[in-house]
Symmetry: C2
Subunit: 79 residues, 2 copies
């Protein structure tokens, strides 16, 4: 079963990489893009076929290794 | 309106960063994680409030700046 983990900086944390992308888009003529936030995306292939335990495992892995809970938050999707 | 862009390496492209994460999880005792693929995640704040044009703009931006279409593919969600 596959779990997707999206890690983003918390809204209160400044995202210079996203800011740089937004500025680059402005200078390329994409004025329709107001702001960009960059994050990380992980696809985990899990042995379990039970959605609840897949979500629990993905959350534990995200807490331990994939995200820095001081400055980042994460969201998990399981299918 | 917000567009989310997920950029991942194409399946045929080796992902050493994901491999390293998978190996680290194995050595941390998470044998239930078989494989990991890492990608990038972008949240775009767009001026438009029309879903079709938001998706078109996000796709153009992904092609031009966010993804390298030679080795990466992307997926877009709009809400």
């Amino acid at each position: 079963m596959r779990a997707r983990v999206f890690v983003t900086l918390k809204p209160s944390v400044f995202d210079p990489q996203g800011r740089t992308i937004a500025d680059a888009l402005q200078s390329l003529g994409y004025g329709g893009v107001e702001d960009v936030r960059q994050g990380k995306y992980f696809e985990l292939e899990l042995k379990t076929s039970e959605a609840g335990s897949a979500r629990a495992l993905a959350a534990e892995v995200a807490d331990k290794l994939l995200a820095n809970p001081v400055i980042e938050s994460y969201r998990i999707e399981v299918d």
